[in-house]
């Protein structure tokens, strides 16, 4: 028999796959044990204790004895313990899946009916394809132009809903070179099942070669800077603080004091929100005068703007989250604290995402 046609396990190609598969094995074992136990008991009882005569009345079980109470407690507590193991184990993996490492390489994704649009930092864009180098942590920041989609790569054992109006995050470290299915897993209309693609995991050299063949597009940061000029953002948010609006240098990954007392954490979500709904959170000391750019810029352009604003932050473009050690380390790295959109000195297309890794080493 050729098992190619009756596979039991999907391809396994990310750092999560072995963990999820081990958890799956545990779950299957527990389930199989109890299913078979119940099935065998029922069949045995049905045969062994079948009614032999019409007038037969079985002896009642003594239900009020200590023994039966113990029985009830036993078969409540053992499943509870087994399932709490499931909870703990699953929660650990989930926590891991939710928190991208600080050195992750960024890729931006927009879902729309019915295609996936991918932007690499270097400016290369793809549709329904995603090329990534093997053994590198990849962080996707995703959003949708219309309805909810879901970015699902079975071989990586991970998925995330792609929700309009906000950013969601998904990360993984591909561990095996190859081509893998990309599915939209949240029903999104007519061509839902056509919203599929391929994730290519490549050797670093192949990946670099692929990147450099990607055409002559400017990097996302450059595109973002151009937009920043073109849309007039620079008039108020320029590096020189003119009192009308806060300068955005050093904004990313900092805490912003808001009018009315609170603070906000300036991550990618915050920056996106500030472009689309600028009046929702006003920075302390400034007038609420910024117009909304909703409808004037596409989600992809917003991503470029965000990437530009990230790049003028003093902190690593890769370090979101609250990983203090990494943050501090990178803040001292002069290459990373370049001002006003200047790409890191001498950086070719693929240098920016790689730098953090070096910094860590």
């Amino acid at each position: 028999m050729d098992w190619k046609y009756l596979p039991i396990f999907p391809q396994s190609a990310s750092n999560f796959s072995p963990h999820v598969d081990a958890l799956y094995a545990y779950l299957v074992t527990v389930s199989a044990f109890f299913s078979i136990l119940v099935a065998v008991l029922i069949v045995v009882f049905a045969v062994k204790y079948r009614r032999k005569s019409e007038s037969e009345v079985p002896v009642p079980l003594n239900e009020h004895g200590i023994g039966n109470m113990m029985l009830e407690i036993t078969w409540s507590v053992i499943p509870l313990l087994l399932s709490l193991v499931m909870f703990g184990w699953g929660a650990l993996i989930f926590f891991d899946e939710s928190k991208p490492p600080a050195d992750a390489m960024d890729v931006w994704v927009v879902g729309k009916q019915w295609m996936w649009k991918v932007q690499h930092l270097e400016g290369v864009r793809e549709i329904n394809e995603l090329h990534v180098p093997v053994n590198r942590n990849i962080r996707l920041t995703l959003t949708s132009e219309d309805v909810i989609h879901d970015f699902y790569v079975p071989a990586f054992r991970t998925k995330t809903d792609v929700v309009p109006g906000r950013y969601t995050t998904e990360w993984f470290r591909p561990t095996k070179v190859g081509a893998y299915h990309l599915f939209c897993a949240e029903y999104c209309g007519t061509k839902h099942s056509g919203m599929i693609g391929t994730v290519y995991v490549m050797n670093p050299n192949d990946y670099d070669a692929w990147l450099s063949n990607g055409g002559t597009e400017a990097s996302m940061t450059d595109e973002g800077e151009a937009l920043f000029q073109q849309l007039g953002c620079v008039n108020c948010h320029g590096p020189q603080n003119n009192g009308r609006a806060p300068s955005l240098v050093g904004l990313y990954n900092s805490r912003v004091e808001l009018k009315g007392g609170g603070t906000a954490y300036a991550d990618t979500s915050y920056i996106r929100e500030s472009i689309v709904h600028p009046l929702a959170q006003i920075v302390n000391g400034y007038e609420p005068i910024m117009p909304t750019f909703q409808g004037l810029v596409t989600e992809e352009q917003i991503q470029q703007l965000v990437e530009y604003i990230k790049s003028i932050g003093p902190k690593s473009p890769a370090a979101t989250g609250h990983a203090p050690a990494i943050e501090n380390g990178l803040a001292q790295n002069p290459a990373m604290s370049g001002v006003a959109g200047e790409p890191a000195p001498g950086a070719p297309k693929s240098a920016a995402p790689k730098a953090p890794q070096k910094a860590q080493q």
């Binding site: 009315g260 709904h277 600028p278 009046l279 929702a280 006003i282 007038e287 609420p288 005068i289 909304t292 909703q294």
Partner: protein
Amino acid sequence: MASHATALRHHFENPDQQQEASSLGMWVFLLTEIMFFGGMFMAYLAYRQAYPESFAAGSAKLNVTLGMANTLVLIGSSLTMALAVRSAAAGKSNKVIVVFLILTLFLGSVFLGIKAKEYHDKWIHHEVPGANFHPDEWPKGVDMSHASLYFGLYFGMTGLHATHMVVGVGLLLFLIIKAGRGAYSPAWHTPVEMVGLYWHFVDIVWIFLFPLLYLIDPNFGRQ
């Protein structure tokens, strides 16, 4: 008049059982009503905490005087409703019941009238969410699309409440007609009691809606 054809239905053992069943049924129904409004309250809570500023600005657009008046009118109608139920239980003549019911009906209608006036004002001032949403004299620097959520919930919640009021007014008309024919007695006035419970429930919903919708920050933008 003792035409108690309505009295004991065949499947009940005795009038007490029947009365208790009706009362429990009504309360269970009110339970579903709590959850029904609960969904709207959840949405309100979520957005108010996300967009406090826009909600305060939207709220300041409401007419607090009319809201106050309506609250008092509704509390008054609850009092007259309670007195109607009391009269029925205490064995007052059906005429007394009718008087209290008519008072309740009157106050309920006043509430709906004021509500209609408020809706009309909102319409005139372009404060109805949708394509035509651009409130006049909108305070500078407050996000209008978030305010649209506020007005959406304002119309959703008060609309749902007003719908309940309309149903209540219909029920009152029914009671007035029946009581006018002398249908109720201390032994059997279950419908009056049940409509009373319903009416008070609708009042309670308004008791929460009033501060939540009208009084977030009446001074907003007026300092």
